[in-house]
Subunit: 470 residues, 2 copies
C-alpha cells in the first residue's frame, strides 16, 4: 500500500514512536508544579525545546510549542499583527500560502478592516522578490511567505524576501510546514511556524518561533503556559516525540533528499511520456525533494484518486471535485495551470524505488480508464482539423450544471467542427472552468479569447470564448 501523501501527514517516524512511548511515563504531570513529577515533566519540556530550537535555528526562549501547525500560523499571524497595530493593519501574503495563513489574514481583515495584499506567483508558483517589494507599504504590519509550496513543491526565495522585509522594517512570518524536516529556513525571518506530523512527528504539536525584538502580542485570553503564547496544558510526550523525530529526520535528510529527488525526477520525466495530455506543474529544480504535482486533461480528480486507491496508491488532489467547496485549489489557480485530473505525489522518507516504478506502470491505465468512462477517449488525441465551408462562426457548448472535467471534454469534442479562425463559446457555472478552459487553450495552442457573464438566468453562469488557431 504505497502511501504517497507525506505532504498531508507523514507516517509516524520510529524515533517519534519510541520517544512518545518512553515519555508517557515521565511527561504526564504539570510542568509548572514544584513536586518531582512536575519537575521531571518540566525537564523533558526544556530538553525538547532546546532540541527543536537548534533544528529551527533560534534560541530556546524564542520557541513555543502549539497544538498544531495551524494553531502556530493562526497565533503567529494574529500576535504579530496585534503587536504592530500602531504601524498599521496591512498584511502582504503570497497568493499560494497555505489556507491557514490566508484564513488568518482574512480573519484579521474582517476584525480590523485591515487590507490584505496577495503577491502573485509565476507559472511555477514562485513569488518574485521584486513583486514582494512592491506589495510592502508604509502601513504593512506583517508579511508572510511559505518556505516551499505544499501543493506543487516550489521553493520560495525566502532569504531574499526576508532581507527586503528587514530593510523595510517589516517582520516576515515563514510557514515552514513543508520544509522544516529537510533543513532550517535560511535568512533573516522574524517568525516561523511548523507542524510535527508533516515531518513524521505525532499529531498535536506545532511550533512557533518569534525572534527576540519582534513585537508580539499574544491573541486571545491570558494563559501562563508557553510564555503566554499558547494556552492549555502542554502535551509533553508528543512534544518530546516531535523534537526527537525532527532531529532524526534531519540526520537522514541529506541522503534521503538526493534519493527522493531522483525518484521525483523520474516521475516528472516519465508521466508526460506515459500519459497523453498531462501537465507537470511546479518548479523542476527549485523544489522540495519529495513532491511532484501533475494534472491530466479530461479526467475527474475524484475518480482518479479512487482508482489509484483501488490500485493501492494514496495520493491527494487539488481538483475541484475533491474539495468540499467544489473550487479548484487556490494554488493552481494562482499559477494559472490546469486543475482537472490533478494529482499530488509526495513521497515519505524511505519510499522504495519499486513503489515509484509500480506507480508509473499503473498510472497510464488508470487515467485511460477514467477518460473512457467519461467518454473522453476520442478527444484525447486532439481535434481533427476539418474545414467545414460556411460552418457557423460561433458554436456554443451548453455545459451548465456539469462539473469538471465535463465542460472541457465538451469543448474538446466540438472543437473538430470549428473552422480555423472560428470560435466556441462554453457556457459553464463550474468554478474549475475559469482555470481549466484557458489552461486547455495553452496546452493545445489555441487562443483563449476571454469570458463574459452568460445571457442566462443563473447568476453564476459564465461564457468562455475560445478561438481555433490551427
Amino acid at each position: 500500500m504505497p502511501y504517497f501523501d507525506a505532504a498531508s501527514s507523514a507516517p509516524l517516524h520510529p524515533v517519534a514512536r519510541q520517544a512518545l512511548q518512553a515519555s508517557l511515563d515521565e511527561g504526564w504531570a504539570d510542568p509548572a508544579r514544584l513536586y518531582r513529577e512536575g519537575r521531571r515533566a518540566g525537564l523533558l519540556l526544556d530538553a525538547a525545546r532546546e532540541a527543536a530550537a537548534e533544528a529551527v535555528g533560534c534560541r530556546p526562549d524564542e520557541l513555543v510549542f502549539t497544538p498544531s501547525g495551524t494553531y502556530a500560523v493562526h497565533s503567529g499571524v494574529a500576535g504579530a499583527l496585534s503587536g504592530r497595530r500602531r504601524v498599521g493593519l496591512h498584511v502582504a501574503v503570497s497568493a499560494v500560502e497555505h489556507s491557514s495563513v490566508l484564513h488568518a489574514a482574512e480573519a484579521h481583515a474582517r476584525a480590523t478592516g485591515g487590507a490584505v495584499s496577495e503577491v502573485p506567483v509565476d507559472r511555477y508558483g514562485a513569488v518574485a522578490p521584486a513583486a514582494y517589494a512592491q506589495a510592502l507599504r508604509a502601513d504593512t504590519a506583517l508579511a508572510c511567505l511559505q518556505s516551499a509550496n505544499h501543493e506543487v513543491g516550489t521553493e520560495q526565495p525566502v532569504a531574499e524576501v526576508a532581507e527586503l522585509c528587514r530593510s523595510r522594517g517589516v517582520p516576515l512570518l515563514v510557514d515552514a510546514a513543508q520544509s522544516l524536516g529537510w533543513g532550517p529556513v535560511e535568512g533573516a525571518w522574524s517568525l516561523l511556524a511548523a507542524s510535527a506530523h508533516k515531518w513524521g512527528g505525532p499529531a498535536g504539536v506545532g511550533l512557533l518561533a518569534v525572534r527576540k525584538g519582534v513585537r508580539f502580542a499574544p491573541p486571545g485570553p491570558a494563559d501562563e503556559r508557553e510564555s503566554g503564547r499558547t494556552p492549555g496544558f502542554e502535551n509533553i510526550p508528543a512534544i518530546v516525540a516531535a523534537a526527537a523525530s525532527l532531529r532524526a529526520v534531519r540526520a537522514e535528510a541529506a541522503a534521503e533528499a538526493v534519493r527522493l529527488r531522483a525518484l521525483v525526477d523520474r516521475i516528472r520525466a516519465r508521466v508526460p511520456e506515459l500519459v497523453p495530455e498531462v501537465e507537470v506543474v511546479g518548479d523542476p529544480v527549485r523544489r522540495l525533494p519529495h513532491l511532484v504535482t501533475f494534472s491530466c486533461l479530461y479526467v475527474d480528480g475524484e475518480a482518479l484518486l479512487h482508482e489509484l486507491d483501488r490500485a493501492d496508491f494514496s495520493v491527494s488532489s487539488g481538483s475541484s471535485c475533491t474539495s468540499s467547496t467544489l473550487t479548484p485549489s487556490h494554488v493552481l489557480r494562482a499559477m494559472g495551470v490546469l486543475s482537472e485530473g490533478n494529482v499530488r505525489v509526495s513521497l515519505p522518507p524511505g519510499t522504495p524505488e519499486a513503489d515509484v516504478d509500480r506507480f508509473l506502470e499503473v498510472l497510464p491505465g488508470v487515467v485511460a480508464g477514467v477518460r473512457e468512462r467519461l467518454g473522453a477517449t476520442a478527444v484525447a488525441s486532439g481535434p481533427v482539423a476539418v474545414e467545414v465551408p460556411g460552418a457557423a462562426e460561433g458554436l456554443v457548448v451548453d455545459a451548465l450544471g456539469r462539473r469538471c472535467p465535463i465542460p472541457v471534454i465538451e469543448l474538446a469534442k466540438i472543437f473538430g467542427e470549428v473552422p480555423v479562425g472560428g470560435t466556441v463559446t462554453v457556457l459553464s457555472d463550474d468554478a474549475a472552468a475559469r482555470l481549466d478552459i484557458p489552461a486547455w487553450c495553452g496546452m493545445r495552442g489555441q487562443e483563449y479569447v476571454g469570458e463574459r457573464p452568460a445571457d442566462h438566468g443563473d447568476a453564476g453562469a459564465v461564457a468562455y470564448v475560445v478561438r481555433r488557431l490551427s
Copy 2:
C-alpha cells in the same frame, strides 16, 4: 511516591496507553482524505466521537474535540458570546470558575466592552441559584458555571442553575473538567467543556459539546476541521485514547468514588485533630469524591510543598507563594477562607489506603517543622491573655516587604501584648494579607475591624486593623 494531585493532571490510565499505542498505526493520516489510510483514521475519529458523546450525554454531532480543555473553554465562551451578540454582551460567571473561564470572559470584555458579573459563593465555595438568578440580565449572552470546583471540590448546583438559565433563555456553559470522569453533568446545560488528562486520558485532548439550537459562531480564522469549531489537524491517536479512557474510568467510577470518598473523609476528620490551627475548606458533603483542601496558619505554602515532596507526597497549593503572580488563589479569596499554608490533596483512582495513612502520619511533623523554621512555634497555641495596664491602644506591626505567612505570624506574636479591647494595625503590602488577616481573626475569635491605605510612600501598602476580643 504517592501522587496526590490528580486535579492538576491524572497519570495515564492503562486503557488510554493501550488505545494510544494501538491507534498510532491506524490514526496518523488525514481523516478528510479519500484513500484508505484517511478513511481508517476517519473511522477511528467517528467511533471516538460516538463514545465520548455517549459519556457526555449528547449527540455525536454536538461534540468536537479540541487540543485542550483550556481551548474548549476559550472557544466555547467566545463562540457562544459571538453567536448571541445581538442579545447583548453581558456574561455571568461564578467567582470560583477556573482561570480559563475567567480569562475568556475578561478577553471578551476587553475586546467588546461587555460586562462580566461574578456571582459570589458561600464559605464552602458554592453559588446559590438565587444569586445566579440575580446576575442574569436582559442583555446576558452567556452564563458559565463549573460542575465542581477544582481547588476545593465543592459541587455546584448545576441542574438548578441550568433550569433557571433555560427559563430566562440564557445558554449555560458548564466547565466539567473536574467531574466528567466521575459521571455526566445533569441538567439542561447548553455547552460543556472538559479535558482528557484530568480523567487519565492523554494530554492534548479537550472536548466541547454545543447542544443543537444553541447559537454558536466559531471564533478565529476559518477552518474545515471539527465542524469548523476547532482548527488544525486532528490528533486521532490521542482522541481515541481519550474516549477509551473516559469509558474505562466511568466503568470504575461508582465503586472508586465510594472508596476515595471514605479516604477523603478520613483526611477531613483527622487533619484538624493532628495539626493545630488548621482550616479544612469546601463542602464536606456536596463535593468531588477524591479532593480535599486545607490551610495551615503560620505556614509558608511553598516550604510546605517542598517538605511534602521530600517526604514523597506530591500535592498542590493555592497559597500566594506558590503562584507566579504572588497572589492567593481567587477561589480561596472568593470563599473568604485562609490561604496561607494551603494544601490541595486530590487522589487519583486506585490510591491505596496506606498512602493516605502515611500522609496523615507525615503531615503533622512537616507542618511543625515549617512553623519552627518560621519562628512561629510559640504563637501556634495562641496568645497568652495578659493585661498590661496602660499599654498603648494601637500597636503597629510593620510587615512591609514581608511575604505570607510572615504578616500573620507577626500579628500573632504581638497579639499577646494587646489588652482586650485594644487594636493591632498590621502594615502589609502582601496580597495574601487581605485574605489571611480576616481569616485569622475568624479562626481565633478576634474582631477584624477593617483596612485602609497605609500612611506610607508605597502605593500598595495597606493597614489592616484587628481588635482583641478575648
